[in-house]
Symmetry: C2
Subunit: 244 residues, 2 copies
DNA sequence: TCAATTTCTTGACACATCGTCAAAAACATC
DNA sequence: GATGTTTTTGACGATGTGTCAAGAAATTGA
């Protein structure tokens, strides 16, 4: 029999509530905003109970990260299975990445925190493997599209440049751009009031530079992206306040 | 008279020693690796004395950041004054950025930490202004070169794309790439064993995509960069273990 | 030179937070 | 409802930050 006793169910539910509340606290105050004492109090349990769920504070943060990365991987997967030529599928990935970061800025914030602080030492090998798995899946999805583009002759990489190298470029650009936007108002001070279109342009230029067909000058990618949104991410897009 | 009493000199010297030691501690253990107690003990003073120099722990970290960013700005400045066509001067900036991150990985680490944690609330307005000033100076140097390129007709930006937007692209790419390299071994797992050449390629492709002349296919940028190193950064390059 | 004044240093104190653990409470099973 | 198991609790020890009054050291002025 696989019925769940009410007590077990309560524990499972509580774990969700812990993560939900923890995310809010991290969002509002970073690593130090997450205090296990207030977390426990607010949940109506004692601190010891929290430690029944997670070995340490860092494990909670990593659990948040796993949730976050899983969410993005799912969006990437949906984008990648879009039935179109590789460069448009890549644009679909771009839509997914942008929608993700705009819909869930708090999720992105968690990634920022984990990256810089020395969190990893205290965490369990299992959860670290989960994180790494998600990361490699995301990269793998994109790499697959690049390989398709090469296989179909839409792009020819020069000697000594691998598909992965191009993926690294896409990853760097988005990672860097989102990070700059999230952690500094320098972008606005630069006079860039709509950074997301700027990011799209820069990525298109890089792909153009690799000669990936069709070039952004030959095709209306803006229209293509609108269609992607309609076809794949209508629900997510509807939740966006600032339209596009 | 502007002679400095021995006591004042001692205090000035101590401030340097504080920062030097603090950087080591941050490097080895992140934000939490910097303990004011061990810092004071190791320096042979009491904790109270540290607080005479810096209002709080966060101020120390920001002071490290100012040192770091000033160092990079100086290298940028040297690169920007290289007497060449704009695209080569941009390559010189690239050399500076890469040399910086490879020569001082610990400096870069500090930037990572500051970015994610909620450090800023506790710090003084003055030091925050110092940081922001350095940042805008770096950006301004690059923007100047881009404007030169446009003015000299080497590149024509499409309607609705500003010079700053391109600068944002360059910044994003390098920021993201260095961050990925520093915080994850995913790059190696992607099969990219020499990430720095890959970054250079991706940046060149983006500039090619903007049609910035001369294109990377028309000119031997590798040779140009070697010359830049010789002419501008010979001393720094000599200190690099892994050649290039 | 020495006393007055200013500046600097110290370390104990108050406070906050993390993680542990033995005892108590709640739960499950027969 | 008696017994064994699981879960919860909250006091405790350890560590770390920031403050401050008192003492030490340096500077100033006559």
């Amino acid at each position: 029999m696989s019925t769940i006793s009410p007590k077990k169910q309560e524990i499972i539910d509580r774990e969700s509530r812990i993560l939900e509340l923890a995310r809010q606290m991290v969002l509002s105050g970073g690593y130090h905003g997450l205090g296990l004492d207030s977390l426990a109090t607010e949940l109506g349990v004692s601190r010891g109970t929290i430690y029944n769920h997670f070995k340490c504070k860092e494990e909670i943060i990593l659990a948040l990260l796993v949730e976050t990365m899983g969410k993005r991987r799912d969006m990437f997967q949906r984008a990648a299975s879009y039935r179109e030529i590789p460069r448009v599928r890549l644009a679909a990935i771009g839509v997914a990445a942008e929608l993700f970061v705009r819909l869930y800025p708090d999720h992105f914030r968690v990634e920022q925190i984990v990256k810089s602080d020395s969190i990893w030492d205290k965490t369990t090998e299992e959860r670290r493997a989960l994180v790494k798995g998600c990361q490699m899946q995301c990269v793998g999805i994109v790499a697959g599209i690049v390989r398709d583009g090469v296989a179909q002759g839409h792009v020819t990489l020069p000697e000594g440049t691998s598909c992965e190298s191009l993926v690294f470029g896409l990853w760097s650009m988005t990672e860097g751009a989102y990070s700059i936007i999230a952690t500094s108002d320098a972008v606005a001070e630069l006079g860039i009031h709509e950074p997301f279109p700027a990011i799209r342009t820069n990525i298109h230029r890089m792909l153009d530079g690799f000669g990936w067909l069709p070039l952004s000058s030959e095709m209306d990618f803006a229209a293509a992206m609108e269609k992607i949104v309609e076809d794949v991410f209508a629900k997510e897009f509807a939740r966006l306040k600032q339209p596009w």
